[in-house]
Symmetry: C2
Subunit: 374 residues, 2 copies
């Protein structure tokens, strides 16, 4: 039966079992809260209840007081999507990524759009196709116009890509009609996950003018099975990028970033069949963002839009200045023009059978394998 | 206590009370299904259960067998959002609207983007800010760049607009990874509502490149309190627009439209205080769409994206070729350059205190009044 849990080291702690054993008396109706298939009810409770639970768990672990019926090997449990996604918003907040994408897609223009340094550019994605790490990714079909063809066609995408992102998970909702002040934004954050914003670049390229990305993104977005509580990440907060021009008042704050190393590994079907380990193809840091989480939340609600428990906010692809720091294959292969090497082969976009894993310090891995179109 | 109901003429039928009275024996667990604050559980049941319930209600009404405890005056009930919105997608499927918007925003270019006649252009909107008719609309603040200013500012929007749309409500979900064939698309549709896709044109204009509309739309979207079952609209289906070029196979079908007259009325605070009636400013027809509902659903799922119960699919603004048929103030006032007359005043975008009502044959009204920014 699905229930909520906490991953710690090699173990998963079954919170419902812990509550039944009477070990979570600090949390009101703990058994009801945790005997559910998602974290949403707990997430809606707010920071006080999160901290109470967190403190109690630390204590139980430290004192070796976890009852055996609440303890499982991580490998034994089948992870589900950790929360029901309310709205999914994806930002575009890495300066290097936005610059690279601009150079690739609009080589004749200024790589950054005129609004980029004034506001965190973002858009809504599809909440219903957010899936948990490990879910196979069916190569999407879509409409696109191949070079040299007389008309667009409907075909399996030939440019399936990844995007390495941080995902912010909203716990406490906000009131519709009332913007969230930038200095209060973090109070709404339950935790962070890694997020792979799978993309079909050929579909995206053809559909995107004038209303933005749609089916090139909506086939799947993978997130980690375990949400890292914000509380566990606060000592990794470091000053973020200098912002020029100074943002408008509603966005003005000391921009902070998370000092977390991130990486992407790739293993082809051939490598897997030969028992070879995945190869790391991207090494970057969550510091490589221009707009902070607080600024993203303040902007997202600046028009009075409300936050709901379960809102998922992607950072946008996190790329750094070096080639190895590029968080998408679009950038790593410069849209296919500069193949990278994988196990002796020249590679650009994803092949069927490829398994991609995003990893990050203190964050749960996000894996997905490309399976052929039906 | 919230529960689900049916509007018929001057009355609301309380389905939970009807179930308790044993009058809905055709529907399994009717009392559980209808003693809820939303239609989602019923909508998830699928066409067979919708038809059974529909048939039974017709019979009860025709035979005068409605128990008095299940019957309310419509004016007595407080309508809630009729269903929990899963994902909200907004299309751009009226040729006249897309052409007008192109002429206004990109006067130097072909008004239609190159992809427009090949696929139904659309994007995801914010599901969490869909509100029921009657909800006041707070004038959104946002970042935009006023003509002649040295930098963008954060201000109450000066160009709050409406968009007259049909909204399709998805009942039966589809499987992730499996596109819905165009000829099966209608089986997923529970019913239709009118939809006002409120827009802040100044915010939208500044933010929209390169990822599409975001905060210019996400402050609120209003829908009718009562969903009209698709079954009640099938005899209004008529052949739609001729499509040239012929769409790709996955979109190929006889495109149908709904023959429903639609209108928009506006009443200013001054008119209301003088007891004057609203003035009709738009008269158009739901026939004025190029891409059909079936084609929109087939496209939306063409990459394997799944449908969920509660998905809301907007048609895009429905404009016709005549000035009076333009479904937004952007078009009606040609972005403010050609004011229209309201009660003797020259008007362009919405003023505080304005009350807008969308009406349509067989569809429930959608009203909203603009209240000042906080």
């Amino acid at each position: 039966m699905p229930r909520t849990g906490v991953a710690t080291g090699e173990h998963a702690i079954d919170l419902a079992a812990l509550a039944r054993a009477g070990a979570l008396a600090e949390v009101e109706d703990a058994e009801g809260l945790f005997s559910q298939a998602s974290l949403n009810a707990f997430m809606a409770g707010g920071p006080a209840i999160w901290r109470a639970c967190h403190g109690r768990l630390r204590e139980l672990v430290a004192n070796g007081q976890l009852p055996s019926e609440a303890l499982f090997q991580l490998g034994e449990v089948e992870p589900l999507l950790p929360f029901e996604v309310a709205d999914y918003v994806d930002f575009y907040s890495s300066l290097e990524h936005a610059t690279n994408a601009g150079r690739i897609f609009r080589p004749e223009a200024d790589p950054l759009p005129p609004n980029w340094r004034h506001l965190p550019v973002g858009y809504h994605g599809r909440a219903g196709t957010v899936v948990v790490s490990g879910t196979p990714i069916v190569r999407p079909c879509g409409q696109f116009w191949r070079h040299g063809q007389a008309a667009p066609e409907y075909l399996p995408s030939e440019r399936v890509d990844i995007e390495l992102e941080l995902g912010v998970v909203i716990g406490t909702p906000s009131e519709h009609g009332r913007p969230v002040p930038v200095d209060e934004a973090l109070e709404h954050v339950f935790g962070l996950v890694l997020l792979n914003d799978w993309s079909a670049r050929d579909v995206q390229g053809w559909e995107t003018v004038p209303l933005g990305p749609f089916l090139g993104k909506s086939f799947a977005t993978s997130i980690g099975a375990w949400v890292t509580p914000l509380e566990d990440l606060m000592d990794r907060r470091v000053p973020g990028a200098a912002q020029d021009p100074v943002p408008l008042d509603y966005l003005r704050t000391e921009p902070m970033a998370f000092d977390l190393e991130l990486s992407v590994s790739l293993r082809s079907a051939g490598m897997a069949s030969r028992g070879e380990p995945p190869q790391t193809i991207v090494r970057t840091s969550a510091r490589n963002v221009y707009w902070s989480v607080e600024q993203q939340i303040a902007h997202l609600t600046a028009n009075g839009a409300s936050l709901r428990t379960g809102d998922l906010i992607g950072s946008g692809t996190i790329s750094g200045p070096e080639r190895e720091q590029r968080g998408s294959l679009l950038e790593l292969s410069w849209n296919g023009e500069e193949p990278f090497e994988l196990d002796g082969e020249r590679r650009t976009y994803l092949e069927d059978g490829d398994e991609v894993t995003l990893s990050g310090e203190l964050l749960s891995d996000v894996s997905g394998r490309i399976v052929p179109s039906h």
